[in-house]
Point group: C2
Chain length 771, copies 2
């Protein structure tokens, strides 16, 4: 079924622009115009108050509340944690001549909302036509600091067009926000103070002991006499400003937010730390912080920009993706992960899935290795929770959660939380991938190996021996393809578990030579003996990998080839999404797949399979896939590009960069598809760029979509910034910084330096055909 | 794992007796001493009020309230209905010298609770030692009328042993009872009146419009001046009676209950009907109703008694089973079914399962054909609900619910409600079985065939074609063995569906000859054409029946033979029940089965399989079955008896008749295992009696457990009552009433009359060995 774009925003290479206000699209725009700095995120809502449909979303990464679930069978979770909607620190109310600004009811014109990728600043402008006949132009400017995670900055600029007078302002910190899914406020206010115009408030989540401190100071050139305003969950100031016709009046609000999610410190300690940060930063000047912000983003674009010539929509789209990825995560704050919707909405409860390692990690490995390590460190920090979970599942070692905010399992559907075991194997793959590319020996020797050992234990105890086959594998599982609910020997999982065991053994073997003391003390601490290690080797060697030897097609799981066939094109368009329109059990009874499963491991371990094998499996599985996951098309696009199916590759790419900008799935109002955004990056770099990073060294086999004139992308590899540029005639690869790097282009090895190399694409056509 | 008896009640051939009161066993006793008359049931609680642990359970068959469920995927139910705990019509309070009787706190002696199978009367006796030093003997006698479903009768007899004085009595109708599972009261009181001592009250369920009217009158020889007592959900009377030392004072309470579950009549109409019934019956004399009751039970024992000589415990046990089955159901009230716990508790929410047709129906077919028809008529009455359900599941025809009180699906676990399809095939089997044995042509031609046609439609649309096998079958199902959660081609289901199609075609073919007009009008009304009928024939002929041709073992489902093996005897005793102690997903990953699946169809269609096939499959599956269903052992016992494994047959029978009396599963406090009780009857008649009713005519191959001297049972067959008696030397079979019937004993045909035949068992041994 074709997805249809809902085109609305102005196409621009470096920003997203909404001209004119459409209330029915307001929630979508709130998601699109989300700001974030990894530590906190805030939707692009109207901070001055809006009585129309809106989701006042302000989120802090990893800050959660908890919900108890009904009694259930053993091993099924009994409570789940979810991202809490937190303080509205932008809270502002504007009143002139007793009229309150509310664009749901006020008369306005010239509404523009603009998000600038070069600065990460969101600007809203509008002209307000007052009931008294006068008009005033107002701009709201905001950003969250990328250089100081605690800082949020707001500027309000007011220009009376045809009058002079006064404006009454209320500004504050509001904890009375509602969490939509829970349908209630989640906060208990603990403390509020105001001292010399510095307003501070601290609250804690209802069911967990997560504390959030928030404080602000107002900066304005006029000498104001603010009056303190308090409510149960609110602290703020009321003040007036003079308006002079033809002149500009403005005020800045500098906010410090400080979240404590550990429950370890006393409330007093959290409060003191908050006050300390507030004293230090709230007095800072808006323009200074803004200058740092612009410099930060400038550096990011220097190392991570992608250009597309001849396709302004995808040019905007891919920059939007890169921008949002950096907003969501950049590795400055330890202990965080990436929710499926980032910090832009409450769908998927703010939880992180295997998307992190499978879809997002490659972006960070090649753009921000520190962030990549930080993501893997999240798994190390939550190892004990994963070990608890394994125990609950009657297994040993560590079972990583299918959905989590703090390391505990928070998926309340047992068919996913208890049957989907591919988060762990994706983490193992991520460690392997990161270690190979970044060469971070310290990480693998201290943290990575411990994760691998505990996961090997889990996969050894969760697996079983087939009674007839005599092979080892996983029974009662759901693979990445969520349209096969409870199967035996999911080929993807078995293969990935095999690789996990093998990699664990490889690292152990390597450490025996390079870090024997470290290894000995680890094995001793974890009580691993040689027999256990040997057993993992046996399991890897006996792992069942269902394969039809005649066709070369891997069987997605035991019995898949006998599953009743359905021609997916025969399904009426109105049946989609099938989750909403088909009886739940019906989803699971065909050879129809939701997202790549066999093809997923052919992407991940791409170089372990011949082109012939990839072709056979692509030709078998592609026609059976309905892509009811936004993560699905990019993998197909990448493989199609490799198989020389250029049109198909472009078709699958089609909405990758603009999934949210054009609201293809009609659910962008719930938040951005943050992890799918990462897939758009992979789609260009691995797909059209033909990059492969799963073998020895880095390979590129670039192709050029026929609709594009040229494109280029940058990656960080071996501490150098490498730029790959492809146009109709040439491929030009060079380093933008750092020393020379060795890479392979098609089958030819090159050492690339700042002068780079230029290869005529025609020369390569032979490679494309004979590989 | 061995189940252990908790022996407590006195062994007696015609009653259950508790001597002395044990508060910790009170809930178990309340279940054991439950009374019922199919229309209503009441647990054996202390009606005078009891401040200890107790479940004041008063239930009306088919009377339900509803609970909304959270949002979920399509096809998964969104609300469920459950049996409501209703009016406490026995409500009584006894006060002497300002002291209230409450055996949790009062000083008592000589407590006896006794349930008499010959009259269905429950008697409690105790001597109450008052704080003032005097003692009084009190008896509470109650029964629910088997001859008038609306009538409940209570007698309280008070004998002061060493004083004269007065007793203050409060008696009433109390709707303020709590439903334990819901943790709240479910009733809204609509009306209350008192007129000349006749107290009436009507209330309705909170979420459904089920109305219940209740009314009583007090009968006593003394001229009392009762005072009306009203509360929101209560109406009653306060009165005093004189007590004279050495004399007996008593009062009777005659109650009429009238339940309306249709929501069709106005509240006023229900009230009027209740008042009408109350006027008619509440004035009746206790002793007269009691006399009818005794006569009714006497007739039941004449046609349904089972005797066991040499085993007093099983003698009591099997009579308890027969007694409870009749209490639960006897076919006098249309539109009712049998909840898993009958009318004795709130576990399983009062819902009916496939147990009705698979386990209970044979008892009624051979003891009370009218009740058997009534059970099948319940399915006809709820056909439209089953058709709605099929539609929700994206299918055609009728899908009968896995758990129901009124025909709608009320199982809130999708893995059962959406995957377990064997209720329908059990109903088809039940219709087939009933029709063959009872010969009720009218039923099959008017109701049965319509059910069969709509079910054939369902099984035709739910089934699919295997892509490789080219065979038809069911994908994504759970068979009777609930330890294989979501499998393809469950052999039991496929075979039963095949039989369903074949039987539908057989009835259609038969009607073509015997009732062509009826058939034509039915086919026309249901829009069935010849192509559809032919299609069902095709599906039956192409049905996949997984079988290992070498071993002769049927494969429980595709891939079962490769399921990882577990030696069930290696599981620690403390792991049981596995549902409570194993991670949910772990239950489903072995070749371990919960209850018979392949063996179940070998029991149901027993004569379709050779002894050799039964032996091969029994020997394969029996060691893999952990019997974590109380329905499981009896089927194994019956097949073991057939296979000449006499000790094993007796071992599996061991706790069948006394599952509740000896509280083997330690959960009798939640209610009786009513449907398992029916299995106990099957175990004797089909197991030791060797009866087979699934072929042409009736066959007996009786054996005698070595611990018994003799046993006998009675059945109704072709309108005659047939008695089968087996002792160490002989088998004696005769009719007790009705004309001669033709049966087969081993391979020999006999026409049996009132003189009967006597066969020396020794003569038969050759048959046993060579069959």
């Amino acid at each position: 079924m074709a997805k249809v774009a809902d085109k609305y925003y102005k196409v621009d290479p470096w920003s997203v622009i909404e001209e004119g206000f459409e209330p029915l699209r307001n929630r979508v725009s709130e998601s699109i115009f989300s700001l974030g700095n990894e530590y906190m995120g805030v939707r692009g809502y109207q901070e001055e108050g809006y009585s129309g449909d809106s989701l006042i979303g302000s989120y802090f990464n990893g800050l959660y509340d908890e919900m108890k679930l009904g009694a259930h069978y053993k091993g099924i979770i009994r409570s789940l944690r979810f991202m809490a909607n937190a303080v509205d620190w932008l809270y502002t109310r504007i009143k002139i001549d007793d009229e309150l600004l509310d664009i749901a009811t006020s008369t306005i014109s010239g509404f523009i909302r603009k998000l600038d990728f070069k600065s990460g600043v969101l600007t809203r402008e509008l002209t307000w036509h007052l009931k008294n006949g006068y008009s005033v132009k107002i701009s709201f400017i905001r950003f969250v600091s990328m250089t100081n995670s605690h800082l949020g900055c707001q500027r309000v600029v007011i220009s009376p067009l045809d009058f002079s007078g006064r404006v009454e302002v209320r500004t504050g910190l509001d904890f009375a926000t509602i969490h939509e899914d829970q349908g209630k406020n989640l906060w208990l206010s603990l403390q509020k103070t105001q001292l010399n115009g510095q307003c501070s408030i601290m609250a804690k989540t209802l069911n967990t002991d997560n504390r959030l401190f928030s404080s602000f100071k107002i900066h304005t050139s006029e000498n104001i006499k603010p009056i303190e305003v308090k409510d149960e969950q609110f602290i703020g100031l009321d003040f007036n400003l003079s308006l002079t016709q033809g002149e500009v009046t403005s005020f800045d609000k500098i906010v410090v937010n400080y979240a404590d999610k550990t429950s370890e410190s006393s409330a007093l300690a959290v409060w003191s730390q908050g006050i300390k940060l507030a004293s230090k930063y709230c007095s800072r000047n808006f323009n200074d912080i803004y200058a740092e912000q612009v410099a930060y983003w400038s550096h990011i674009w220097d190392t991570s920009d992608i250009t597309i010539d001849g396709d302004p929509e995808n040019q905007q789209g891919i920059r939007f993706c890169i921008f949002q990825l950096y907003q969501t995560y950049h590795g400055d704050n330890p202990g965080l992960n990436i929710g499926a919707k980032g910090l832009t909405g409450e769908a998927y409860r703010g939880l992180a899935f295997w998307d992190t390692e499978s879809y997002c990690l490659p972006f960070y490995i090649f753009n921000n290795p520190k962030a990549a390590r930080s993501l893997l460190e999240f798994r190390y920090k939550t190892l004990s929770a994963a070990m608890e979970r394994a125990k609950e599942m009657d297994c040993e070692g560590a079972s990583y959660p299918i959905a989590t905010i703090d390391g505990t399992e928070s998926c309340d559907l047992w068919q996913h939380s208890n049957l989907q075991l591919h988060v762990g194997s994706a983490i193992a793959y991520g460690i392997w991938h990161y270690t190979r590319i970044v060469g971070d020996i310290e990480f693998i020797h201290t943290q990575g190996i411990e994760i691998l050992i505990q996961m090997s234990r889990f996969y050894a105890t969760r697996g079983q021996w087939g009674q007839r086959s005599g092979e080892f594998g996983y029974y009662g599982v759901m693979g990445p393809d969520e349209f096969q609910l409870m199967v035996n020997n999911n080929c993807y999982l078995n293969l990935m578990a095999k690789k996990l065991f093998e990699y664990t053994l490889e690292v152990i073997e390597d450490m025996r030579n390079t870090a024997p003391n470290l290894l000995d003390s680890l094995l001793s601490r974890l009580v691993v003996n040689e027999a256990e290690i040997a057993h993992w080797g046996l399991l890897a060697s006996k792992m069942r990998i269902p394969l039809d030897p005649i066709t070369g097609v891997y069987e997605e799981h035991d019995g898949f080839f006998d599953m009743p066939h359905i021609d997916i094109h025969s399904i009426p368009v109105t049946d989609f999404p099938l989750y909403s329109n088909w009886s739940y059990d019906r989803l699971y009874r065909y050879d129809m797949i939701k997202q790549p499963d066999v093809l997923m491991f052919m992407f991940l371990h791409n170089q372990s399979f011949s082109l012939e094998a990839k072709r056979a499996n692509y030709d078998y599985y592609e026609p059976r896939c309905i892509h009811e996951s936004s993560l699905s098309p990019s993998i197909h696009s990448i493989l199609a590009a490799e198989l020389g199916k250029q049109d198909e590759a472009y078709n699958f790419f089609e909405f990758a960069t603009r999934l949210d900008l054009d609201n293809y799935n009609r659910n962008t109002k719930e938040g951005l598809h943050t992890t799918s955004i990462a897939a758009a990056w992979m789609n260009i770099v691995y797909g059209f760029g033909g990059m492969r990073s799963d073998g020895d060294g880095l390979i590129f086999k670039p192709t050029l979509p026929s609709l594009w004139n040229s494109y280029s992308f940058k990656i960080i590899y071996q501490n150098s910034v490498l730029q790959v540029a492809v146009d109709r005639e040439n491929i030009i690869i060079k380093t933008l910084s750092g020393s020379n790097v060795d890479i392979t282009i098609y089958s030819q090895s090159y050492s690339i330096g700042s002068l780079g190399i230029q290869i005529q694409r025609e020369e390569l056509i032979s490679y494309e055909l004979v590989d």
